[in-house]
């Protein structure tokens, strides 16, 4: 007699049942070149998918697939002039006068609910972005444009106050054209919470499909898109708790793309997974230790210079980024065209640092040089660093160790980013490690952070000579080479004044599933080119074929 077969454990039966249930799906039928589903692992979630009123970067990643600009920046990331820009919603453009720019819209462009995109939409969009009731983040950047009018249904005319190198960039980079017929009945003060922002209708390569708060956003390819049908049919942003969770999702095969892997450990983790490919790109971010010039200790330019001289920033970058970051020659990411290693900046020289401090009366005590005092006061300061940034916390510790060798006592204060922002805005700090993610334009980025009285000038830095050079670079120079010279001058003045120690400008790495071909990651806007990506028919996996 045969021995009875031992039944499988209940847990396995349950698991099998679940798998069987999960298999209750419609047939996976999609074949050919226009299938494909990409799942983006997203740490966070969007606020609203209405471009002028959103303040979250993730929202931009999504809505830039739904809405188009008149033209977009080219691969060179050059923001000066209009030569490197590529047509998008406008077929072509011309300068009628030095301060009058005419865009000719592509007659094939349609809103996803049917009507054509017209010049009236462009004029409406400009009014909305510049309306003080809408609170558009990019409103200040449109200040050089006097008006936008519709000459006819396909011709939009931009009038400027004056000529400046980035006037074309100002017109196109920040404005996503909006459907007037759907938004003109929504009172402007209500745009911040408009229902349209939760079910947007655009003119881009992808249509909005669904958004479940806390879970995911899904877009579907618009097969009638006038610039060419996108190859990948479904784009899904799945929201996860944090970056580590995003990496885990990717490594476990439940996500397809992540724009930034973060610290080296994560990169190594991803590189061990054969189905994932990595894509390095120049980052639009840079990090620095900011001195509050209004604080008594840092009102002394010589002390600031001494602290910068005392930091071996190359060694720090080696330690934190394993060589994947450079010391920036000013407040700039590697992405900017004005990056120039020849810009005058302070070297690493601890002897010079010690001399400078001694000249300013900060004498070494105790023989070992481990502390300095002046009039009984110890040379010490508080350094703010956000709890959420592993990279900046590493830098804080390295700075603390390196400055100790010249007798400076650094007290690290790790605080929540929101509280840090509050203290920065109120000027309630001595020094802080900041990281800034910049637009491609140096004009906006530098002015915003270092211009006199600018919103991001938390360190209260001001120098009339720098201000003049900054204005010359941004508005005074009409030719690119003049602008480049003015930028070099501005950065050299800034470096001499040492309102901050520039720490790192990294190369970042994105990860995308290997089945995806033609991947290009744009440094300023990672997924901007996703409509040109494709998944060859022979590389499709099950989730690519699923019919919704």
């Amino acid at each position: 007699m045969r021995a009875p077969t031992k039944p499988p454990p209940p847990s396995l039966i349950g698991l099998a049942a679940l798998v069987a249930l999960t298999a209750c799906t419609r047939p996976s039928t999609c074949r050919g070149d226009y299938c494909g589903t990409l799942v983006f692992a997203a740490a966070g979630q969007p606020d609203i998918l209405l471009p002028p009123v959103s303040v979250q970067g993730l929202a931009r990643d999504v809505y830039q697939q739904i809405f188009l600009k008149l033209a977009d920046i080219g691969p060179s990331m050059n923001t000066l002039g209009d030569h490197d820009f590529q047509p998008q919603l406008s077929q072509r453009w011309e300068w009628e006068t030095p301060t009058r720019l005419v865009f000719h819209l592509d007659p094939r462009a349609r809103w996803q609910d049917g009507p054509p995109v017209t010049a009236a939409d462009v004029a409406f969009t400009f009014q909305a972005y510049t309306d003080s009731q809408v609170h558009a983040e990019s409103r200040p950047l449109l200040g050089g444009i006097v008006s936008v009018t519709a000459r006819d249904s396909l011709t939009a005319v931009f009038a400027y106050r004056e000529r400046y190198p980035e006037m074309f960039y100002a017109a196109v980079y920040h404005m996503y054209i909006l459907p007037r017929h759907l938004l003109d009945t929504v009172p402007r003060p209500r745009w911040a919470t408009a229902a349209f922002g939760r079910v947007p209708v655009g003119d881009g390569p992808y249509r909005f499909v669904s958004w479940t708060p806390g879970q995911s956003v899904e877009l579907g390819a618009d097969s009638t898109f006038f610039l060419g049908r996108p190859h990948i049919r479904r784009l899904i942003w799945q929201f996860v708790g944090d970056q580590q969770a995003a990496i885990t999702q990717l490594v476990a095969g439940q996500g397809d793309a992540l724009e930034f892997l973060g610290p080296l450990d994560n990169l190594r983790r991803v590189q061990q997974v054969p189905q994932l490919a990595t894509y390095p790109y120049k980052s639009s971010a840079y990090g620095y230790m900011l001195f509050n010039v209004a604080a008594p200790l840092f009102s002394d330019r010589a002390v600031r210079r001494a602290l910068v001289l005392a930091l071996d920033r190359d060694r720090m970058n080696q330690s934190v980024w394993a060589g994947q970051a450079k010391v920036p020659p000013g407040p700039m990411p590697q992405l900017w065209s004005v990056w120039d290693p020849a810009i005058r900046s302070l070297p690493y020289d601890t002897a010079a640092a010690a001399r400078l401090l001694a000249q300013r009366g900060w004498r070494a005590v105790g023989g070992g040089g481990s502390a300095r005092t002046r009039g009984g006061q110890k040379l010490a300061f508080e350094l703010l660093v956000p709890t959420t940034s592993a990279v900046r916390r590493q830098y804080a510790r390295l700075i603390q160790a390196q400055l100790l060798t010249v007798g400076v006592d650094v007290k690290l204060v790790e605080i929540e980013p929101n509280v840090m922002q509050d203290r920065l805005a109120k000027g309630n700090f001595e020094a802080a490690i900041l990281s800034y993610q910049a637009d491609p334009s140096p004009t906006a980025g530098v002015t915003q952070h270092w211009g006199r009285g600018a919103p991001g000038n938390f360190g209260h830095y001001a120098n009339p000579a720098f201000q003049r050079a900054l204005e010359a670079a941004g508005h005074g120079a009409n030719r690119p080479e003049e602008a480049a010279r003015a930028w070099r001058e501005a950065f050299s003045i800034l470096n001499d004044d040492a309102p901050a120690a520039w720490l790192y400008a990294p190369n970042l790495v994105a990860a995308v599933h290997r089945r995806v071909a033609d991947v290009q990651v744009r440094p300023d806007s990672w997924w901007a080119l996703v409509r040109t990506w494709r998944i060859p028919a022979d590389r499709l996996i099950d989730r690519d074929r699923v019919e919704r």
Partner: protein, 328 residues
Amino acid sequence: MTAWLVRRCAAAIAIVFAVVTLTFLLIHLAPGTPFVPSDERVLDPAVVDGLRRQFGLDRPLGVQYVRYVVALLHGDPGYSFSLRRPIGEVLATTVPNTLLLSGAALAIDFLLGAAIGLYQAARARHRADVVLGNATLFLYSVPTFWLGLVLVLVFGQHLAWFPVGGDRNPVLYPSLSLLGRLGDRAWHLALPALTLGLVGAGGTARFQRAALLEVAGQDFIRTARAKGLHERRIWLVHTLRNALLPLITLFGLALPFLLTGAVLIETVFSWPGMGKLAADAIFTRDYPVVTAAALLASVMVVLGSLVADVLYSVADPRIRLGKGGARA
């Protein structure tokens, strides 16, 4: 009973009102401001001020509070600053998720914990009792987030038996049948519910074992045994029923524990529930969401305590709910 219930409900409303008021004041007085971008950009202060005005944050705190309470009494808890949608809409998606997770975890916690406790008590001081005692002690001592990460690593990443996060498969879910959707939800629920439930079960089992052994030593159990009752009946009917009271207390207390425990677990498993929503809202200074979360949590706590009191009277006929509260 009715008078007692009315008094308890009145007290519950007062507690909830106090919690909402305190939360409202504390979160508004905390340093930091809403509308700070999560990425490393600088928002023009004029834009932040404009948004603050738009959401009424430029008014004095007292005015904001009165407006909030009046709106709340009209059933309008306001708009989320960070999600830019009505709080009701946000809660409609997150509360069911948390209830699902907490409910599943509670079930694992109490069913498994009570079963293990009973098994241990019936075999007190035998090898199985010792082994299970150490196992439950280990589970009870483990931080939930750590256990969650281990389960993600082993069963999610390496073995790929379960998803590493989320509450559903965003690719497949829309195309699944009703049965398939249920299966998909259960599949995603498994690891977070097990994490919360196992840690809870460790404590419950130890508690239950002690309570059972205390009852098992009493005279009426000895009498039952002397009468020749079957051992199973003695444990399941006489001992277990009398040892249920502390377990019911524990059940009432477990509700808020599960809610606070769920904050970490929802983050680890990217489970879109109240805990994760509240944690994110605290970091983004989303005042209406934080206050709504506190409101819901306090309602759950007072309800849990109310349910425990009612269950007390069901489990123990000597307890009557009347004047002066529950009394024996």
